[in-house]
């Protein structure tokens, strides 16, 4: 029996909801171990962990009945994702279809299994204006349509997390009152090879976030004890790690050529968060070939091509989901091209 399964069985499932974000496996990497984190959900909707819902379920006699249930909020689902170390690939995720009557978003993520491999997952969410009108009426549909990008992007992300972690759409009161035990893969620090790999990653990340080595006068302060400065003795980031050492994370932010190298466009037009192009979707669905929202080069309007400052790019991307200069933003706002 695999360690993972044994661990899951040791957790009394009458008392906890076990969330195992990995597939069943007989093997566990000698460089990894499994740890359990407990997450609690407050069943009172006031606290923002759950939504109260009523849903129709079929009964044994062939009929059906309304039952009350609790659905985890988007914020709580995100907390589960973080606890399980589920990584969202934001470069490959986003709106992939955008027409006047339909939008669709894809979310790509990865979760590490006990062998150390990262399982790539993909989920989509689409919103169709005509269907929306049929289900909620013209007025409410128009209101929702204003937030179509947010709805499909959040929807895709929630679908991905729920699928990856096996979270249910709705829980009964008794279920939601039980704590959730989330099993997560974590590095085994007593393995020298693993320590070395982690140090290498840390040095690369530290260099990106905190800058490279500095002049001696401004380096880490003098100390009466030994100091391990992650910037000291920069490692060659291009060196491959041992193939046996599991990657600490899916290669987020480590573009081909190692950290710091310019990212190359992936097969799907993204910036190459996963170095070997867009990952194969778990559900067998081919990634859409539709252009990504952030296809325009940073610093240029995607409509007229004029150079724009980073702050305008950020605002425009947030507001209009693509980089637009101020003039084109005004046109867009006034109902111009989309």
């Amino acid at each position: 029996m695999g360690e993972q399964t044994a661990l899951a069985l040791r957790l009394d499932q009458d008392k906890v909801n076990v969330v195992v974000p990995t597939l069943y496996t007989e093997d566990i990497s000698p460089f990894l171990r499994l740890v359990v984190q407990e997450l609690r959900v407050n069943p009172d909707p006031v606290y923002g962990d759950v939504h109260y819902i009523e849903r129709y379920v079929k009964t044994e006699g062939g009929g059906g009945k309304q039952v009350a249930g609790f659905m985890l909020t988007a914020a709580k689902v995100s907390q589960f994702a973080a606890a399980a170390n589920l990584q969202i690939n934001y470069r490959e995720s986003g709106v992939v279809e955008d027409t006047p009557t339909r939008v669709k978003a894809v979310c790509v993520g990865a979760v590490q299994d006990a062998t150390g491999d990262w399982r790539i997952l993909q989920a989509t969410k689409a919103l169709d204006l005509e269907q929306l009108v049929k289900s909620v009426g013209e007025k409410q549909a128009q209101q929702k349509w204003l937030f179509r990008y947010e709805i499909v992007e959040t929807g895709a992300r929630l679908r991905l997390v729920r699928a990856a972690l096996g979270l249910k759409t709705a829980y009964s009161h008794d279920e939601i009152a039980k704590p959730f035990a989330i099993v997560r893969v974590t590095p085994r620090l007593d393995a020298p090879e693993m320590r070395e790999a982690m140090l290498r990653r840390a040095a690369a990340s530290s260099s990106e976030v905190f800058g490279g080595p500095r002049p001696a006068a401004l380096a880490a302060p003098a100390s009466r004890g030994p100091v391990v400065d992650l910037d000291a003795g920069q490692v060659d980031n291009g060196l491959p790690e041992s193939p046996d050492i599991p990657a600490g994370r899916p290669p987020i932010g480590d573009p081909p050529g190692g950290p710091g190298a310019a990212p190359e466009p992936s097969a799907s037009g993204g910036a190459g968060l996963f170095p070997n192009g867009s990952p194969a979707p778990a559900n067998g669905q081919a990634p859409s070939g539709a252009p990504r929202r952030a296809a325009a080069p940073a610093g240029h309007c995607s409509n007229c091509g004029v150079a724009i400052p980073a702050a305008v790019v950020e605002f425009s991307t947030r507001r209009f989901h693509r980089a637009l200069c101020r003039e084109c933003q005004a046109e867009q706002k006034a109902g111009g091209d989309s």
Binding site: S205, S206, R224
Partner: protein, 412 residues
């Protein structure tokens, strides 16, 4: 081994409703100094935001320096990290004033001020070694300035930054793994599940948020700064907690405790044995809620309420900074004097009166009969005058005066 965990000093906080907070800050600093000396604290960790603004004036600069130096003089080892760049001023170039604090004033006179992530191995006065991983505060803009991250949304950028911080912490844990003594990580960042003083969870939309799983159990304790409300996110594997800031900067922090954490470690095994929260003598903030709509003498009622809200035997530390929020009618508001209320609050023992916030119940004003939105401006004026007896003698003059104005507006 006894460790004192503090953070978010914010020297000096901005005045609150005109009240200078420097005395309060110094009172807290003295309290910690005395605690360290009297309780034999071995190690003090300061998890960022030493200053309130990136260009502290000399008085602020020296106040922090004197504080750190006094801790070191009391026999404690001191390790501090810079916090948010908008407070401690250090950018990725590390040329900010807080770095200057470290390099000009010299170490170890005032402890260690670590501007880079790294691992410190420290011999404590109790004879035990301790290993301290340090992770200074970062800014999203540092990463955003790099070409390969420029096209990312703020959420994506936060995820990238969080991933890198996780890697750095993993490296610190890997370095610390075989070292003897308690392993402590100090950092200035948000961890999933932390709650800001506004009762809102910190989410990835605003800043990078690390998962608890990013904090390896190679550390016995993770001492954090950045969030002003004290809170423990995890009791073990590792212990993860925010000690909170020194003083309540405004009324959004009214309900927060203010203090520091004291962590006790087993000298032999290095394991965390106990955690204690010690209150700081920070001024209390108090909002007095009142409803005087039915009162015949609202001023006196409010003064009585204020007096009854403050303990009669309150010493300096317990004297609150007080504000009054009251529901009143428009007529009552005219009778309320903030100055008189201020005097009443001071007489009752308040440290400072921060203001009167009226919540006015306005009398509903019926629209004059016959005046509708469909009427032309002049017709509406005529109807309004008809409904207002005191204006009727001036009807012609008013209409004549209004006519050219309306025409001017109509012409655009």
């Amino acid at each position: 081994m006894k460790l004192l965990h503090t953070a978010d000093l914010h020297a000096f906080p901005r005045p609150l409703a005109g009240l200078d907070r420097r005395d309060e800050w110094r009172r807290c600093a003295s309290f910690i100094r005395e605690y360290v000396a009297e309780q034999g604290v071995d190690l003090v960790v300061v998890a960022g935001d030493l200053f309130d603004r990136p260009r502290p004036d000399p008085e602020e600069f020296l106040a922090v320096y004197d504080f750190l130096k006094a801790l070191a003089a009391a026999g404690a080892e001191v390790v501090a990290v810079p916090g948010t760049p908008s407070h401690d001023g250090d950018g990725p170039d590390r040329l900010g004033p807080t770095t200057l604090l470290a390099s000009i004033l010299g170490w170890p006179a005032a402890g260690r001020y670590s501007v880079d992530p790294g691992l410190l191995s420290i011999e404590l006065r109790c004879g035990s070694p301790a290993v301290v991983g340090v992770l200074p505060g970062v800014s999203r803009s540092w990463l955003a300035s790099r070409d390969e991250f420029k096209d990312l949304s703020p959420v994506a950028l936060n995820a990238e930054l969080a991933a890198r911080l996780g890697n750095v912490i993993g490296g610190l844990a890997a370095s610390a793994a075989s070292a003897p003594g308690p392993h402590i990580l100090i950092g200035h960042l948000s961890v999933d599940g932390c709650v800001a003083s506004s009762d809102e969870s910190i989410r990835m939309t605003a800043e990078p948020v690390l998962a608890l799983g990013d904090l390896p159990d190679a550390f016995g304790a993770v001492c954090l700064g950045h969030i002003h409300g004290p809170q423990i996110l995890q009791q073990r594997g590792p212990w993860v907690g925010y000690c909170g800031s020194w003083i309540r900067k405004d009324f959004s922090e009214e309900d927060d405790d203010r203090g520091f954490c004291v962590l006790g470690f087993d000298d032999r095994t290095g394991g965390l044995e106990r955690v204690e929260f010690v209150d700081l003598p920070a001024a209390r903030l108090l909002t007095v809620e009142a409803d005087v709509r039915g009162a015949t003498d609202p001023q006196q009622d409010l003064a009585n309420l204020v007096a009854s809200s403050i303990p009669t035997d309150a010493d300096d530390e317990a004297r609150p900074i007080l504000r009054v929020r009251c529901r009143a009618t428009e007529d009552q508001l005219k009778l309320l004097s903030p100055r008189a209320l201020q005097e009443a609050a001071k007489a009752a023992g308040a440290l400072h009166f921060a203001g009167l916030i009226p919540n006015i119940e306005r009398a509903t004003r019926a629209r004059a009969e016959g005046v509708t939105e469909e009427l032309s401006p002049l017709s509406a004026l005529d109807s309004y005058i008809s409904a207002s007896p005191d204006l009727q003698p001036d009807r012609e003059a008013l209409v004549e005066r209004a006519r050219p104005l309306v025409e001017e507006v109509s012409r655009g």
